[in-house]
């Protein structure tokens, strides 16, 4: 009899606790979700791996740049910023020019992580 009472109380408490825990997990997920700015920019004049690295390292010197990926075949560079930084497109274009190449059209977006 006593054992049944204990099980009922536990079941009742679990019904309160589980939604609470789930809510906390959901809220923490939302709270810690990060947005990163991403720039995809056309670069003309790029035609070999050695040149691609020059562009990559020039852009990586910019503050807040997390990752640079060059797509040589399509002449595009994808720049992912750190969560706490916004991209300065003029700085990106200047970095490409400084590497010896020509920046083209750029698109900006944000991605969640």
């Amino acid at each position: 009899m006593t054992r049944m009472k204990i099980e009922i109380v536990l079941e009742s408490e679990m019904r309160k606790i589980v939604p609470l825990v789930l809510s906390l997990v959901f809220m923490s997920t939302v709270a810690f979700a990060t947005e990163h700015q991403v720039v995809e920019i056309e670069v003309t004049g790029l035609a070999c791996p050695f040149c691609a690295y020059s562009v990559e390292k020039s852009i990586k010197k910019l503050p807040g740049v997390n990752c640079v990926q060059v797509d040589l075949a399509n002449g595009e560079v994808r720049i992912e910023m750190r969560a706490d930084h916004t991209v300065d497109l003029e700085q990106v274009k200047h970095a490409i020019l400084n590497a010896g190449f020509t920046p083209g059209e750029a698109t900006m977006s944000t991605v969640d992580e």
Partner: protein, 298 residues
């Protein structure tokens, strides 16, 4: 005196125009060095000459290890410094006996500036034209001797003189192939009574991507087949003010090779084969030149 006629030209010709930054192996390119960026190159050049028509049966072997550092002052102007280490060995018959003479040590240092005058960029290809000009300083020893006496100018590590050189390079690069051409002139000045002839060069290079056959995402490594041609025209040397008839002339090289290009490294090698040697008098003919090296983008 006869054997020194072409030796200096061979050694110095290898030093300046070989080690530049870019895709051709035997001369410059117009491709950029980024602003405030460094590019390094290391090169080993092995040259063998020994088919001279003279009775002294000359045989000259030289090995040069050349270090080059390129720095982008901005995206159009780049400064290059060149420092060679040269080992030379000459076997010659003198008075009926075989004699070996040799020297080794740091060669003369050079520096030159290159400016990108024309830059036409399109998706996946670029066309550039870049004039360049530089100086070779007499930083190396030019007064070495052995048991026979003072070494001839061609065997000295340095020339003892300031030289000036300049030219223009053009590059057309696509994702599939690259073509380069260069015209250059070098004024070689007198020192120690020896005035080596000036040098005029025309160079061409074609690099064709063998692998990968098609490009996917990202930046794959490239393997190029390389074919270069070099026309080298040297004036007669002058010794104590008089023309040396056994010096100077024209040589045309064909240079097949390979080049493996990654994002940060290039490894390359060519063999320069003299297909035409129209040399004056008994000037020493070249058998072959082998060039192998790497480039590093850091």
């Amino acid at each position: 005196m006869r054997y020194r006629n072409t030796l200096l030209g061979i050694a110095l010709g290898l030093i300046i125009f070989g080690p530049a930054v870019g895709a051709p192996v035997t001369f410059n390119t117009a491709l950029p060095v980024g602003g405030d960026e460094f590019v390094a190159r290391g090169l080993v050049v092995v040259s063998q000459s020994g088919d001279g028509p003279g009775a002294d049966d000359r045989d000259l072997a030289s090995t040069s290890v050349i270090a080059v550092l390129g720095y982008g002052l901005n995206h159009r102007l780049a400064l290059f410094g060149v420092l060679p280490y040269v080992d030379k060995e000459l076997d010659i018959t003198m008075n009926g006996s075989r004699v070996n003479r040799s020297s080794s040590g740091l060669g003369d240092a050079s520096a030159f500036l290159r400016y990108t005058l024309v830059q036409r960029d399109q998706p996946g290809h670029t066309f550039r034209v870049a004039p360049f000009a530089g100086l070779k300083a007499p930083t190396a020893d030019d007064n070495r001797s052995d048991s026979i006496g003072r070494l001839p100018p061609g065997l000295q590590s340095g020339s003892g003189a300031w030289d000036v050189f300049g030219g223009v390079t053009a590059t057309y690069q696509t994702l599939d192939f690259q073509a380069d051409a260069q015209a250059s002139y070098r004024v070689r000045n007198e020192a120690n009574g020896f005035d080596p002839g000036d040098e005029f060069r025309l160079d061409g290079s074609l690099q064709y991507r063998l692998w990968p056959q098609s490009l996917g995402d990202g930046v794959p490594d490239f393997l190029y087949a390389v074919l270069e041609a070099n026309l080298v025209r040297r004036d007669n040397n002058r010794v104590n003010g008089a023309d040396d008839p056994n010096s100077g002339g024209t040589t045309i090289y064909l240079s097949p090779g390979v080049q493996y290009v990654t994002r940060r490294w290039i490894v390359e090698g060519v063999v320069q084969l003299p297909v035409v040697q129209n040399l004056h008098g008994t000037a020493l003919e070249n058998d072959y030149v082998v060039r192998a090296g790497f480039r590093f983008n850091f």
